[in-house]
Assembly symmetry: C2
DNA sequence: GAACGGCACTTGTCCAAACAAGTTCACCAA
DNA sequence: TTGGTGAACTTGTTTGGACAAGTGCCGTTC
């Protein structure tokens, strides 16, 4: 009965519905393996046509949260691992979505000319200035990840007016109207260097899980390039894969 | 003009269309960044209604191959990284899809009672037998990955009649009618143990990229549990992420 | 030349209807 | 009791129509 008022939100109905359904599943209101209400019932409950309900369900289906076939009622597949853009891009958002407390200690923030390597990755000319931020991130006070971010000057300059110890850079930039729209994440493993080792409290050379990220604006420009190194016993990445749906994740080889 | 005959296939039209569109993109007929024909044109070309065309496009959209907005014509996004089930589940399939030559050397194949740890992961009673296979996998002759697979007895027994040095276990099992339908992959980092170090030719403790996999049958039973360790400079994992589409990949915390 | 307004076109959203194809279940007959 | 038949219901597919909202372009006006 909640959110049955003609919806203050101006989002399209099918989107509101799919969010509602997602909640019902993750809250356990609709249990895994159990069939969910028939399309006709959902139509009646929300006062919309069948097309709209199907549009909402299609969204869940494409994520694998719901399966079903002709004649058979749709059933909740599994509480699917899937994360929104913000949750996946921002350590703080991620922590909050888990009910954990994110923490950060800024080790360094600096403006430097980009080295050849970095410039190549970010599509800059060598020597163009970038803003580098080095932070130690924690979950519930426990050191978890070393974050090395490089921002292009236009974006990074705004950071000097921001207390990087206070929270999410992603959130701050978004609130300032920076339009981060796409991320490309490369996941591999790396041995801890001296800095990593000291910050995370491990031996130099210890295996760390690295997420190398490029963040793009809507127009395709690269805004950020980061190198996050996780303690592998504190966080890792999970993906599910079925014969029916292609996985967005890809395993790539590195040398020709 | 190909496949314009009323379609011998009994697949639904929207599915045929989305396959056709996928081909047009991967063949370069529709080029990256270029707008594709308007919905009205596509309707006329294929003699179907707009709803059907939109249904076909929605499929590409959900994979990120196509973007677009109100008023704007839909444009071909980047050739999206996405892999079929077989390519992601099988090292051999993966290598072939890249035009590389997969190799394997079987170090050990054995039947053992499952330890408490493994039994828990696979949903077996401790002591139930599992078939363990330890192989060194290579790309174009270069050692790349150490593969430790554990199969439940029912599936694994078939392997004693298979030359595990000859190629893909996944392919062999599929051809025997074993219905692998779902995989759950956990990605983290781990230091090389003595075996890894010797096989891959690195120092013990060197950082390796680990893919821990559970493979499920259609009925939900766990058929296989594997631990694959890659040289991080030879292979890694990539995922893309946009504000519009949720990522199937998830970053998970490990301790409460 | 630059700014503005309006028109044609395109996609997004929503509805209504009809049929096909599969599932479930009650009922009846052997 | 068992087996089969069929009706009722469910989801999948496809069509058609209508309106809203955004883009791009052309021509007018300043």
């Amino acid at each position: 009965m909640l959110k049955y008022v003609p919806s203050i939100s101006d989002e399209p109905i099918h989107q509101q519905l799919s969010e509602l359904f997602r909640e019902k599943i993750s809250s356990g209101d609709w249990k895994e393996g159990r069939p969910l209400p028939s399309e006709a019932e959902l139509c009646a409950q929300h006062g919309v046509s069948r097309g709209t309900v199907r549009q909402a369900l299609a969204s869940l289906r494409s994520e694998g949260m719901v399966t079903g076939g002709r004649g058979k009622p749709p059933v909740v597949a599994r509480p699917v691992p899937s994360q929104s853009f913000a949750t996946f891009m921002s350590f703080s958002e991620w922590a909050h979505s888990l009910g954990r407390e994110p923490g950060q200690r800024t080790v360094e923030i600096a403006r430097r000319p980009a080295g050849e390597d970095l410039a190549g990755k970010m599509g800059l000319r060598p020597g163009e200035p970038v803003i580098q931020v080095l932070r130690l991130r924690s979950l519930d006070g426990k050191p978890t990840m070393v974050e090395r971010s490089n921002f292009i000057a236009e974006v990074g300059n705004a950071l000097f007016g921001f207390d990087t110890d206070s929270g999410s850079i992603f959130g701050y930039l978004t609130s300032r109207g920076v339009d981060l729209t796409r991320g490309r994440h490369v996941i591999d493993a790396v041995g801890a260097d001296a800095t990593d080792a000291e910050l995370l409290g491990v031996e130099p050379g210890a295996a760390l899980l690295r997420e190398h990220r490029l963040t793009y604006a809507a127009d395709g420009r690269i805004l950020e390039c980061s190198d996050d190194r996780y303690l592998p016993h504190l966080a890792n990445f999970v993906i599910e894969n079925t014969r029916a749906s292609r996985a967005a994740l890809v395993r790539v080889p590195l040398v020709a």
